[in-house]
């Protein structure tokens, strides 16, 4: 135990480890905020579609040797989020097909471009990093940390300011629109923050595992809590705890950051399922 603490404090001497922890916690907060909305609005597939878009954009950015690829990936993802939301609203089937087309298309083109243009010798390694996050959180530069910091604060601020409106368009969009609220505007805001969260979370867990980071904390909280507020607060706490523990564990055990954090989330989900069953049984 003491040995582990010593080892940790040794690690925390390094600035990049401290950066990684701060950014990781903020990203975990942001991604969990929208979980309930995404799941209940049937947007979770938009989330995974967008993460493929982000993968394609990252691959293109890597092939173009951009110094700061977030500046390219972010606008592309936001535009796709808005497009997907638009098509999704018209008719159900067409929306699904559009998402599948955009996400699989960008995935394929991204891989193709990386293969053709990549300068790096370790292509498989690079792709693995983009897909699973691997060690990327520990290699963040100072600008990336600041950018992540600002973006996550923006996401949190927008969520808090629009909390009641997001509740209303999630619970019953028709009612919100019918009674004179700007439901379309709120949906647009939702799309933009979803895109922000996806791009942010790519740093922590990689493109393939983002959906897990968004959906698991909300699903865990929904096993036990019954009000929107309680579920939101609980998923933030669960997500932050899983991210911190997962990152510490990955530092100590040398496991990949992303998959360790997601594994922690899966574990908590199972525990919450059991807790939910027990409380329900105790009541009846």
């Amino acid at each position: 135990m003491i040995g582990m603490l010593n080892q940790l404090s040794a690690y925390f001497q390094f600035p990049f480890v401290r950066y990684a922890m701060i950014v990781g916690v903020l990203i975990a907060m942001c991604s969990s905020l929208l979980g309930v909305t995404l799941v209940l609005k049937r947007y979770s597939f938009i989330g995974s579609g967008l993460s493929h878009v982000a993968f394609g954009a990252t691959a293109i950015a890597a092939a173009m040797n951009l110094t700061n690829n977030v500046l390219f990936v972010l606008p592309v993802t936001i535009i796709c989020a808005i497009l997907l939301l638009r098509t999704g609203q018209n008719t159900k089937i067409k929306g699904d097909a559009a998402i599948a087309m955009i996400s699989v298309g960008t995935l394929a083109i991204g891989y193709l471009i990386m293969n053709v243009f990549a300068a790096s010798a370790n292509l498989a390694g690079d792709i693995c990093t983009i897909l699973f996050g691997a060690l990327s959180i520990l290699t963040l530069t100072r600008t990336e940390v600041w950018l992540s910091l600002v973006l996550s604060l923006v996401v949190i601020a927008v969520f808090v300011l629009f909390y009641n409106k997001i509740f209303s368009v999630t619970f019953d969009e028709d009612f919100a629109a019918a009674t004179g609220n700007r439901a379309k505007l709120y949906n647009l805001i939702l799309a933009v923050i979803i895109a922000l969260v996806i791009v942010l979370a790519m740093n922590l867990v990689g493109a393939l595992l983002i959906s897990a980071l968004v959906i698991f904390p909300a699903m865990s909280a929904m096993r036990v809590f019954k009000t929107f507020k309680a579920v939101t607060v609980c998923s933030v706490i669960v997500s932050v705890a899983c991210a911190s523990l997962g990152m510490l564990a990955s530092i100590l055990a040398g496991t990949p950051v992303g998959s360790t954090v997601v594994a922690a989330n899966v574990l908590i989900f199972i525990l919450f399922c059991i807790a939910g069953l027990l409380t329900r049984r105790a009541k009846s």
Binding site: V160, F167, F171, F175, A178, T179, G180, K226, T227, A230
Partner: protein, 237 residues
């Protein structure tokens, strides 16, 4: 000037008409029941009045002093709401959102309005309960309380008594009648022809062209549409 008037409306989806030739006026304080078979386009008409679906042709005009944020709406239930984690209080309060504009949070005024409407519908004791764990009748009341929070002028109700037992549905109709007596215009979709004829002031019957009808209750009783429909539904209009 009527609060709401529809002229030569044709409604439908993606260019395909579902109903056409709809003409009617609603004056302040009216109680209009919309009746017709399943799939005849009642919900479609209501959604068009609410501007959720654009009409294929014709016009829907809101009279003076009826702004979009002065309309209350109670929908037929959707699937998504069935597993939504929300307390009754959260649901009812969301009805007041159309008056808070760009303010991010509810003020005490909106909270009081929500409390008052829950009390009016006798669900104050359920305020902290989870919406999805309520009975059908309790859920309908919560949705009606939310609709009331959104308006003081006009309420549009899509089958407010569907799925309720005879007692609960007559209670629901009494509640709605009470609201109408306090001056709120009611536009309600219903399959209960007996209750419609008992409480409403006007009937709009939609269906095939020959059975289209709009008029007051006494006219409806005399009309062909009314007699045929009543006979089919086993009512005593």
């Amino acid at each position: 000037m009527p609060q709401l008037s529809c002229t030569d409306l044709t409604l439908g989806y993606e260019g395909k008409p579902v109903i056409s030739n709809i003409n009617f006026d609603v004056n302040a304080g009216d109680y209009l029941c919309i009746v017709g078979e399943n799939g005849s386009g009642k919900s479609t008409l209501m959604k068009s009045i609410l501007r959720l679906i654009p009409p294929l042709s014709g016009q829907i005009t809101a009279g003076s002093g009826l702004a979009a944020n002065e309309i209350g709406y109670m929908p037929q239930q959707t699937a998504a709401q069935k597993d939504f984690p929300a307390s009754v209080r959260e649901v009812v309060r969301s009805g007041t959102l159309n008056r808070i504009g760009f303010r991010p949070f509810y003020s005490t005024c909106e909270k009081h309005a929500a409390d008052a409407n829950m009390k009016r519908l006798g669900i104050s004791h359920l305020a902290g309960r989870c919406y999805r764990e309520l009975s059908g009748g309790q859920q309908q009341r919560a949705l009606l309380a939310r609709a009331l929070c959104a308006t003081q002028k006009i309420l549009l109700l899509d089958e407010p008594a569907s799925g309720l037992d005879p007692n609960a549905s007559s209670e629901m109709y009494e509640l709605i009648k009470g609201l109408n007596d306090s001056g709120i215009t009611i536009i309600m979709i219903s399959h209960d022809i007996e209750a419609s004829v008992k409480y409403a002031s006007h009937i709009l019957h939609i269906g095939s062209q020959s059975s289209l009808f709009f008029g007051s209750i006494s006219d409806y009783r005399e009309s062909d549409a009314g007699r045929i429909y009543a006979a089919q539904q086993g009512g005593t209009a």
